[in-house]
Symmetry: C2
DNA sequence: CGTTAGTTTGAGGCAGATCAACTTTGGTGG
DNA sequence: CCACCAAAGTTGATCTGCCTCAAACTAACG
């Protein structure tokens, strides 16, 4: 749930302000797959990933939340348990809004549910489009679009090969091979663990 | 969007009743990927599939709508164009509710948006869980769960191998091989184009 | 009863997974 | 501040599940 470009729902932001901001370390989990929701989360600083763990022991990266985004709302408003875990990919500052307070706010604010619905509708589109991309395209294509997304979302984050693999439904060695190809073509550069997009036009030709 | 088990939203059903039911033939499209929404659809009879076409010319089967379900709502409430087409997989009876009337109903009915949000939230979970299943599991697993889903959803529909393939992110020949394995194990039976689940316990061992 | 749509089978090829050994990086504590 | 160690990255060899292609067969519908 994003509030950025929707003035009418700025009150949602205010909702969070009445609660204290808590600190979390990189690697911390806010909640785990299978648990029941207790809070609505508002990320003030850092980066959070939504991960679903598979039987094979992998963690598929479903969504990313950046500064100013709300998360945990899908489960909060669906009477279900979490289908994935949320984990800090960096040190984070997060406001936890108790479930009761959040529901109360929504029930008192007619357009809040409309906004929530719209937000979920967009997320659903994204998820479905991505599932087609994943099953139809090859790894190079997926890595290229993942890099564009990641760098747009948070250019300064030190993305690991594993994070990229988890997002691309692939594995670390495969991602490394794909990225060397992209580097060889002059689309990106890699120094130590830093990844830079040096030529967006070239990178986009892989999509 | 389903209304089945939610008494509080039965008024939504009534909304559709004031409009005439139109007939569509198997193969007809209600709307196509890229178009802008004009209606909210209420399926009275038949089976509708939501398909996203890929560059390679395939049609990925994203969702299925059966009798009494609403569809077209994701796009209607998200200010976007359709990201997939909806196509009659059987002859259908459908009520078309003009966009304006639908929006008016939602704006006049506070809990309608809350219900819509909940419905989209569940659909989002389904989509994300499925994307992990598709990228992690093998074809046999996907076919087994697809058959269970399809037979639960509409036992009498004559599912084609292509429909199954489109849903399983696979291809017709691969589906046929997978289904012969399931038949050899005594999980299903195939006569002409008819598919029957003869032993659900066995079938579930493949998931 | 002809035509079209759907099904079936097999041969061949390849993208990407797996596995394993090795190197680099960067944080931590002695 | 350096030595160490765990975590992350790299590389190549091998293997395999599924796709592709093509040809032949069967069902269903007008």
């Amino acid at each position: 749930m994003q509030t950025n470009d929707h003035d009418e729902i700025n009150l949602l932001k205010e909702l969070g302000e009445s609660f204290v901001t808590k600190s979390f370390a990189k690697g911390d989990y806010l909640y785990r797959q299978g648990e029941s929701p207790e809070y609505l989360y508002h990320l003030k600083l850092g980066l959070v990933g939504l991960l679903r763990s598979t039987e094979a022991g992998n963690e598929s990266l479903l969504r990313l939340f950046k500064t100013d985004q709300f998360f945990g709302h899908r489960t909060l408003f669906s009477d279900e348990t979490y289908h994935a875990s949320s984990k800090c990919l960096e040190d984070c500052q997060i406001k936890l809004i108790p479930k009761k307070k959040a529901l109360q706010f929504f029930n008192e604010t007619p357009m809040a549910y409309a906004y929530l619905a719209k937000s979920l509708a967009k997320e659903l589109r994204r998820a479905e489009v991505r599932s087609v991309t994943v099953s139809e395209g090859d790894v190079l294509q997926r890595v290229a679009s993942a890099l564009i997304l990641f760098k747009t979302l948070k250019p300064d984050h030190l993305w690991t090969r594993k994070e990229i693999a988890n997002y691309c439904a692939s594995r670390t060695p495969t991602i490394i091979t794909a990225m060397s190809k992209l580097e060889a073509k002059g689309a990106i550069s890699q120094h130590k663990r830093e990844i830079q997009i040096v030529n967006m036009d070239i990178l986009e030709t892989f999509i």
